[in-house]
């Protein structure tokens, strides 16, 4: 997308048009539900990709921020009647603040042990919400009161409305990533991801950059948390801090293309479509089959295409008509 020439704009405009029209054309609620999942996990993947993909700080604890966002907005709504739209932003701020001590601890470790420390902090947060009932309903969780159609409280009658909300979130995530990719921060992030010691040697303040990008990534992940619990009208620690959220955030980025703008989106489309197909073929009573297939896809990508599947897409894109040298057609 570097040049942003007319073909890129055209493709982007077409993509936006198709995405906006999609829930009007395909109205089956099963299909729209899958679209919402794809957009939501794309967005979480995009948020993860900022710290995990560009800076190569491979977190498997993003459920911590997802859960904090979900709990902040739900507590504000259920206990104080404050709209989840405000709660969503508040949740983002809470997650951002939480990322400071979490980052302070976890960034002391490098490589795989950073990953382990992030898993442990997310699990610890889940245990805290399970254990301390006074904080928020304990293990039983709570249902979010259904107010019927009230857009101001982020509750809609049709699934299409939720679709547009999460589409907006994804657009926000992509825009932020696009902006960062082109800023000095983006270059610093890539430098840190390639070789942190070398980056510091040439004057990059790695600790500060990692802290800042972790804050942005946490903020965005928390927005997804609020959206998700509003969509399913239910929250408990096992849902909000589910380890599979951390897994999927990293997985979609790696399968699609780690450290690229569109990688998480491509990865999510592939994984979620596979999962939906498996479910419709085998029924929902197939514990384990979805993650078995995810694991096989992940292994295949790592062994044969560690830069992710986005390479296949960009290769095709480079073969588009205007990028080819003029050829003389033989008559």
């Amino acid at each position: 997308m570097a040049g942003l020439n007319k073909w890129t704009w055209l493709a982007l405009a077409m993509l936006v048009a198709v995405l906006l029209a999609l829930p009007q054309i395909v109205t089956s609620s099963f299909a729209v539900d899958i679209f919402i999942r794809i957009l939501l996990f794309s967005f979480i993947g995009v948020a993860w990709n900022l710290i995990g993909g560009y800076a190569k700080q491979l977190s498997l604890g993003h459920a911590a921020f997802f859960g904090l966002g979900a709990y902040t907005s739900t507590i504000m709504q259920v206990d104080f009647g404050i709209s989840p739209w405000i709660g969503m932003v508040a949740g983002g701020v809470v997650a951002m603040l939480a990322s400071l001590p979490i980052g302070w601890l976890c960034f002391r470790l490098h490589g795989p042990y950073f990953t382990i420390a992030t898993i442990a902090t997310a699990q610890a947060l889940m245990l805290i919400f399970l254990k301390f009932r006074d904080l928020a309903w304990g293990a039983e969780g709570t249902t979010i009161p259904n107010l019927g159609s009230s857009p101001l409280m982020m509750q809609f009658e049709t699934k299409a409305s939720y679709y547009y909300v999460v589409l907006g979130l994804l657009a926000l995530g992509l825009a932020i990533t696009w902006r960062i990719e082109r800023s000095w921060m983006g270059y610093y992030l890539v430098a840190i991801g390639e070789n942190e010691d070398a980056a510091e040697a040439i004057g990059v303040n790695a600790a500060r950059i990692k802290r800042d990008i972790f804050m942005i990534s946490s903020f965005l992940t928390a927005l997804a948390g609020t959206f998700y619990v509003q969509y399913i009208y239910f929250i408990d620690p096992a849902t909000a801090f589910n380890f599979s959220i951390s897994i999927e955030a990293a997985l979609v980025s790696i399968v699609g293309g780690i450290g690229t703008l569109w990688g998480p989106v491509i990865g999510t489309v592939l994984l979620e479509t596979t999962s939906a197909l498996l479910q419709s073929w085998l029924g929902s009573s197939t514990g384990g089959i979805q993650l078995t297939v995810y694991a096989l896809i992940l292994m295949a990508v790592i062994l044969w295409r560690p830069t992710g599947l986005i390479g296949l897409v960009t290769e095709a894109w480079r073969r588009r008509p205007d990028s080819q040298p003029a050829r003389v057609e033989s008559p």
Binding site: Y113, I116, Q123, A124, G287, M299, L303
Partner: protein, 289 residues
């Protein structure tokens, strides 16, 4: 009060022996091959299922099935190293972390598909027996597990310090390039290290079976414990991992006793976070031994 504390320490020490087998495996692989095996817990689970099926179909005692689970897991380890891990060794973290992570996901969910989420238990004649020392009791199965675990750890330590292959493994863990220049074949050393680590996981599985249930997610507890112990005991340090595992067993047991039945893990996480905050190089002080 004092009795309760001592009893909790005894219980924690005994389960800590099992944690030690898992964490020594993790630290051995980290020290020699320089990767973190996220799937170590799933190999404990495989060891448990092997033991369970040998008992329920052939009536073989869990302790005898050590002689099956350890060689089987050793072979799996050599194969995993040869066909998977070897292909991602390099300066890049991402493929290494996520390959073993994918392996963990795969094994866990395959066992969920094949064996279902049911809890499987083995009841032996010594499962409910216990020695009584005054006010304290020591369950026989746990004591056997602890003693065998300590014995196996000792055998591994002796292997690393007295045999040529063991010394080659320690050399490779100190400096892979120099070791290669000295004529050590890294692939062979890595395969043995991976195999040995998985054999220890298999042993942990067999030893656990008389007093613990097997289910697909069982490995996750042990691998989490092992990761904390390995950080606490300084990465790559076998003796450090052993001592840290025993400490964690005790801490978990005291947590269960005094904070609440579901609080063992909170104590463990608190230990990890405190270590990271105040002594991130681990209690061993940073030297890899």
């Amino acid at each position: 009060m004092v009795e309760t504390v001592i009893q909790a320490v005894i219980n924690g020490l005994l389960i800590g022996g099992i944690y030690a087998l898992v964490s020594i495996g993790v630290t051995l692989i980290f020290g020699v091959v320089k990767i973190v095996n996220f799937a170590q817990g799933e190999f404990v689970m495989i060891g448990m299922y092997i033991t369970f099926f040998l008992f329920s179909y052939l009536g073989i005692d869990p302790l005898l099935s050590l002689f099956v689970s350890m060689p089987v897991l050793f072979t799996i380890g050599v194969l995993v190293q040869h066909f998977l891990i070897r292909r991602v060794l390099g300066p890049n973290d991402m493929p290494q972390i996520f390959l073993t992570f994918a392996l963990s996901l795969l094994l866990l969910n395959l066992s969920l598909l094949l064996f279902s989420a049911n809890y499987r238990t083995v009841h032996t004649f010594y499962s409910d027996e216990a020695f009584h020392f005054g006010a304290f009791y020591v369950p026989v199965a746990k004591l056997i597990a602890f003693v065998v675990a300590m014995g196996l750890s000792g055998v591994l330590w002796a292997f690393l310090h007295t045999t040529d292959l063991g010394k080659a493994m320690r050399a490779a863990s100190q400096n892979r390039d120099v070791a290669t220049l000295m004529g050590i074949n890294p692939n062979r050393v890595f395969a043995v290290a991976f195999g040995a680590a998985l054999a220890l996981a298999g042993a942990a599985g067999s030893l656990l079976m008389p007093f613990y249930s097997a289910y697909p997610f069982v490995g996750q507890i042990f691998v989490l414990m092992a990761f904390v112990a390995v950080v606490l005991g300084t990465l790559g340090n076998v003796v450090g991992a052993l001592i840290a595992s025993l400490m964690m067993g005790i801490a978990e047991s005291l947590g269960i006793q005094f904070v609440g039945a579901d609080s063992g893990l909170i104590v463990v996480f608190a230990m990890l976070l405190l270590t990271l905050a105040f002594k991130p190089s681990g209690l061993g002080g940073g030297r890899v031994r």
